[in-house]
Symmetry: C2
Subunit: 326 residues, 2 copies
Amino acid sequence: MERDNLNTAPFFTPVQTGLQEVETLLHAQADDAHPDLRAAVEHLLTSGGKRIRPAVGLLTGQMLGAPHDKLLTLAAAVEMLHTATLVHDDLIDGALLRRGMPTLNAHWSPAATILTGDYMFARAAKLAAESDNLLLMKLFADTLATIVNGELTQLFAARGVISRENYSKRIYAKTASLFEMTTHAAAMVSPAKPAVVETMRLFGYHLGMAFQIVDDILDFTGEQETVGKPVGSDLLQGLVTLPAIYYAEAHPYDPDVLCLTGGCYTEHERMERLVQSIRESDATAKSMKEAQDFTEKALEILKKAPASMERQALEDLTGYIVNRSI
Amino acid sequence: MERDNLNTAPFFTPVQTGLQEVETLLHAQADDAHPDLRAAVEHLLTSGGKRIRPAVGLLTGQMLGAPHDKLLTLAAAVEMLHTATLVHDDLIDGALLRRGMPTLNAHWSPAATILTGDYMFARAAKLAAESDNLLLMKLFADTLATIVNGELTQLFAARGVISRENYSKRIYAKTASLFEMTTHAAAMVSPAKPAVVETMRLFGYHLGMAFQIVDDILDFTGEQETVGKPVGSDLLQGLVTLPAIYYAEAHPYDPDVLCLTGGCYTEHERMERLVQSIRESDATAKSMKEAQDFTEKALEILKKAPASMERQALEDLTGYIVNRSI
């Protein structure tokens, strides 16, 4: 439902056909796999995904006159990589819900889930290689290393730590690095000059940072049915995101904040109360302001790109990032 | 110990320096990772590995005049990929021993183990990309997909099935595909003509098939201390390898064989008795004959390669494959 609604969003219009071709390409990746694996990959590919990253890649590349076929493989590679990381993520989190529907690991054995993720990594790498661009290939491998290193850092990090620096690094690794890679790579396969390539890389970075901050806000303000996970799920795992940071800065002596810093994030009731306090405070509004700062910067950067239907669509998409409810 | 002994083997001589450079390159891959991740990668890289694959790659490429730096990154990429698949494999098998020492997952949480494997995949892909050869990059991604698809097929396969066809496919995916890729890629980055590239691909394929058959024989004939896993461990998991196939063909009415086919591989005592029967039969000798057929074919193919110190070393290494005890 959500995806259908989104797909009719005006910013998808210039790449509507391209996005359908990306879907076909994504689904074709499992064609020669074991039937059970094929079914799993199909399930993962159809079970959601707003295809924001492929859209951003297609719009950027199309705006700059990149060859259509290279953009398709790039967009498919990015989405495949994104989906692969989600598969292992879900397994690691033990998350049973994502996007409101059962994730693979609730159906499958952990072993099969690990291997399904690996298979998707392999196919993402193959798609990236088909772009016939070595720089892109290296960028792709680097981004994968950044994402995984970020996940491990998060895994090892002490819980309940309130640190803006940690937070920035984390959301870069988790989300902004892939957005940055997407716009960077899409520009790289185009005939655009190095300065424009750099502009688009920066645009992707800022867009990605905003995207993740909004995700973290929605974790507090969204409803479980819409977001697909319990409200405040990050904090309930001891993971301190921007709204919690703002709240803690404003209420350093709130006993629940002190408790969180002291490592008591496992005390479920206290954490649920803290989630409630954050929801009722201006912390989410302050966080939203910060997300908007990133999108404003992104829009400012985008002005350097050639005026076009695609640029307009990227502007609209940037606006959507901060106004979405999912 | 074992590696030290092996490293002085005559067939390593022409690539001794190269192998040391590969070690340095492998260890450098974790330099910018989280300290705990770095420690894990170091541990995995130092805890064994005979470096057969890097040696085969270096010897092949050196014999054909490939640029030294490309061979180093290729050899490191192959070994990194191999190690990454072992990490996820061990987690999946729940194997607590490999090469006689505790594997990573006995120390680490499953989550950290999954991500460590992912990180190694990412670095392997990056190394492969540094070869600056797009065909090689595609080959690399294809091989990863083949290995993972093979693992999933094995995971889903019915246990206790006695099938030569399944067995061949399985050992190709598991082992021969990476040997094949190694010699193929090493020849590909050299100035050798397409026919020679194809020759070396075939050599790698036959070498790899022999290597895995011998591994499967050692699972029956080796001692736990040397092989690093319980004797007959494959069969105890219901996995039918070549010695068991030969035994079953010769003794179709052995009650334990009938029982295995009927799915009773979980009856530990019966399976241990079957392992003993196989050990005492000529099944392992017949399997060894088959491994030797592969190495003889490999040696025949190798005659087409230019006569050189490296070719001699590859011949010796091929002999070692079937005569090793580990």
